[in-house]
């Protein structure tokens, strides 16, 4: 059979029309049940079953048709760019939000959704989502980081679990041998993951409550100098095939201690049984032990067409349906529910290292403050890298960071 040009064009046009009729943008009104259509974004979790779980939650909501997008890649950058357009999500997970996003009116105010339940949310993770007395995202689950140590290796070396930064430096040195390094803080020596943790351990802060630089103090340089000491002593594991977030180096015996997340606990338990313990980052000087905590939040874009419907959905999902929150936190990975009441009753968090982790979060948890902008973060992290790896003077590096952070704090204060 031969096909004429006219016939081919006609068929193409007909197919095009059919395709157009069947197109679905995910942004139209009129989903089943009469509710609006909402688009919801999540970053790609590494845990099996999480994607199916969030799709199941969305499908169970009957007042709107929620389309879930599971987005791999640089999620924070994707959402930040999407907030500038009308084609972004209605509802989305946010690693923040940032102060610029709030001040730029890109995020909807969710304060009203917390009526009667605000005190049940962990204050450490609610604080960075609060600005000007208003709450801009609902914390979903809490993640925290801590120090894992191998009990048998410490016992063999005659080392006690370190309670101060000086003890950590000594312990890491004593635990270092030809085959095993003392401590793993990530392949960059801790510049990326530690962030403000050593400063909090030294009794300082990244940003004070009144919006000033919180580490313009000699104690900061002293604490960071000790992290360099770990590097200079060759006590740090560097160049491991997997990075700090993966417990492989620890369970394979490449390191006696590793800084990692609560999410690594099931893997460590499975591999080592009871032969491990967990600690917060040890204190330095007059400070207190510290652990970083953080929570992805659920937020609403102000450019969405159905803001009230989106708010209703978020209230249903992350405030009313507590069984979904517990399932999301503990059935796939290992996280702490953001609601204090849920964290208390969760059986998996009541004993052993998991219970210690929950206690560290409550007693020593510090979240990255809202005023700590991405520009401040880059300047501080670069300085930390130069201090740790290059042996740059902590004093002069921190002075430069203080100048940069002060300027950025002034900028956000003016808005």
């Amino acid at each position: 059979m031969t096909i004429s040009r006219r016939g081919l064009l006609g068929t193409g046009a007909a197919l095009g029309l059919l395709t157009a009729c069947g197109s679905h943008t995910g942004r139209d009104d009129g989903g089943p049940g009469g509710g609006p259509e909402l688009s919801q974004w999540y970053h790609q979790y590494g845990e099996q079953g999480t994607e199916q779980a969030v799709k199941k939650y969305a499908a169970a909501y009957d007042k709107a048709r929620v389309t879930v997008q599971w987005r791999p890649g640089n999620y924070d950058e994707q959402t930040a760019a999407a907030l500038l357009t009308d084609s972004g999500p209605d509802v989305f997970e946010v690693n923040g939000p940032t102060l610029d996003q709030i001040q730029g009116k890109q995020i909807a105010d969710l304060t009203g959704l917390f009526e009667g339940v605000k005190d049940d949310f962990n204050p450490a993770v609610l604080a960075p989502k609060t600005y000007d007395g208003r709450i801009w995202a609902i914390p979903q689950v809490i993640d925290m980081q801590m120090l894992y140590y191998r009990k048998s290796l410490l016992a063999d070396a005659g080392v006690e679990p370190p309670r101060t930064l000086d003890e950590l430096v000594d312990a890491a040195k004593k635990l270092t041998s030809k085959k095993t390094k003392g401590l793993f803080l990530g392949n960059d020596g801790g510049a990326g993951v530690l962030g403000g943790t050593p400063l909090y351990a030294a009794g300082l802060e990244l940003v004070t409550e009144d919006g000033k630089v919180g580490f313009d103090d000699p104690a900061a340089a002293r604490a960071l100098g000790k992290i360099h000491q770990l590097y200079a002593d060759r006590s740090l594991l560097l160049g491991a095939p997997s990075d700090w977030s993966d417990p492989s180096a620890f369970v394979q015996g490449l390191t006696a201690m590793q800084w990692s997340g609560l999410w690594a606990l099931p893997t460590v338990q499975k591999a080592l049984g009871d032969d491990f313990g967990v600690l917060p980052f040890p204190k330095d000087g007059a400070g207190e032990p510290s652990v970083p905590v953080g929570a992805y939040g659920a937020a609403i874009s102000t450019r969405g067409k159905h803001q009230q419907a989106a708010k209703d959905y978020l209230k249903w999902l992350w405030i009313d349906r507590t069984e979904y929150q517990e399932d999301f936190a503990l059935s796939y990975g290992f996280h702490i529910p953001a609601r204090i009441s849920l964290a208390k009753k969760a059986g998996k968090l009541r004993k052993g290292a998991a219970a210690d982790a929950v206690r560290f979060t409550t007693d020593h948890g510090h979240a990255q403050p809202l005023r700590w902008t991405p520009a401040s973060q880059t300047a501080y992290q670069d300085a930390l890298s130069r201090i740790i790896k290059d042996g740059a003077s902590p004093d002069s590096e921190l002075k430069k960071v203080v100048r940069k952070v002060s300027a950025d704090l002034d900028r956000v204060k003016k808005k």
């Binding site: 640089n74 924070d76 950058e77 930040a80 760019a81 907030l83 500038l84 690693n95 923040g96 940032t98 610029d100 996003q101 001040q103 730029g104 890109q106 085959k179 990530g186 392949n187 960059d188 020596g189 510049a191 990326g192 993951v193 594991l237 560097l238 160049g239 491991a240 095939p241 990075d243 977030s245 180096a249 490449l254 902008t373 991405p374 520009a375 880059t378 300047a379 992290q381 670069d382 890298s385 130069r386 790896k389 290059d390 042996g391 430069k400």
Partner: protein, 327 residues
């Protein structure tokens, strides 16, 4: 439409037939070149304008404003973003990183690929085999090669290949990608790129070598030139000038576009270390990442474009590109 084209169009005798036929000819006749020009080129020009030139112009405009989380700014800051970017250590460090990288990788790849081409060209047997062997890495993805280098050859633990070899000789383990003093990470970045691209440039040089007339070598031999360095210096190398210009230009462009190996070897979830952050990546984080400082990012993009333009023009002048044509 030009007068010449109009004249041609009118010179075509009217076809017999309906008015519709006349209209069709008017709009689609083979001689109506202006119409066809716009039908074929118009959509591309429109796309170029909408997706390239307007955003480019808008970016230059944005660079003079404080534009956080918006592309429609109102606070004019003059050259403030430019001075901030030039004082920004993270940006200047990234420029320095890429300058050092280019200064090393361009001559190293040039010398290695030329040496390989000279060796393969001299082979009397199995030339095709060795040409394929040296060229094959060019078919490998930068991502895959970088991950093999990172995970297998140059990881910092005792079972990495490089550290195993060091261990045989009693050497200490080296954290290849995490050590800045000495900066071993350069060895990893440079070797992976050399392995990947030397074969491709070797093929370009081989083509250049095979275009050199044998009579030149015969004449040189008659004149008493010694085979080896003397012939290479006075015959081969000058005859490869055109190939060399092309190779160096491609190498410089590729060096400034380097991203894959930096990303796969040195970045992690929290970004890049300050000594190995590509400038374009820094601008991406500043403007489109969580920073969302579109004014500052645009100023950085303009600065980077100016630097690349100056380097390209300087390089073209140095190689004398276009000189012959002008004469």
């Amino acid at each position: 439409m030009s007068l010449r084209q109009e004249g041609r169009r009118q010179a075509i005798p009217r076809q017999r037939g309906s008015r519709q036929g006349g209209t069709a000819r008017k709009w689609a006749g083979v001689q109506n070149r202006t119409l066809w020009f716009w039908i074929f080129v118009g959509p591309f020009l429109l796309g170029l304008g909408v997706f390239t030139y307007i955003p480019l112009g808008w970016s230059v405009y944005l660079s003079f404003f404080d534009a956080h989380n918006t592309v429609t700014p109102s606070d004019f800051v003059g050259l403030g973003n430019y001075t901030a970017m030039l004082k920004n250590e993270a940006f200047t460090d990234s420029l320095w990183t890429f300058l050092v990288f280019s200064l090393f990788i361009v001559p190293a790849t040039y010398a290695l690929s030329l040496a390989l081409a000279l060796m393969v060209n001299r082979l009397r047997h199995a030339q095709a085999f060795f040409r394929s062997v040296f060229f094959l890495p060019a078919a490998c993805s930068y991502v895959v090669a970088a991950l093999i280098w990172k995970m297998s050859l140059f990881n910092g633990v005792r079972f990495g290949l490089a550290n195993t070899v060091l261990g045989w000789f009693g050497g200490d383990q080296i954290a290849w990608l995490s050590t800045t003093d000495p900066p071993w990470y350069w060895a990893v970045i440079v070797t992976v790129r050399l392995w990947l691209q030397a074969g491709f440039y070797m093929v370009l040089f081989l083509a250049g070598l095979q275009r050199i007339s044998p009579t030149l070598y015969e004449a040189a031999a008659v004149d008493g030139a010694r085979p080896g360095w003397q012939v290479f210096r006075h015959i081969t190398f000058p005859q490869l000038r055109a190939t060399s210009v092309a190779v160096v230009l491609l190498l410089v462009i590729n060096a400034f576009q380097a991203f894959d190996e930096f990303y796969n070897l040195l970045s992690d979830a929290r970004g890049y270390p300050p000594y190995a952050r590509p400038p374009l990546v820094y601008l991406y984080y500043t403007a489109l990442g969580q920073g969302q400082n579109l004014g500052l990012g645009s100023a950085g993009a303009v600065l980077l474009a100016l630097i690349i333009a100056v380097v390209t023009v300087g390089q073209a002048k140095w190689f004398g590109l276009g000189r012959k044509e002008a004469q």
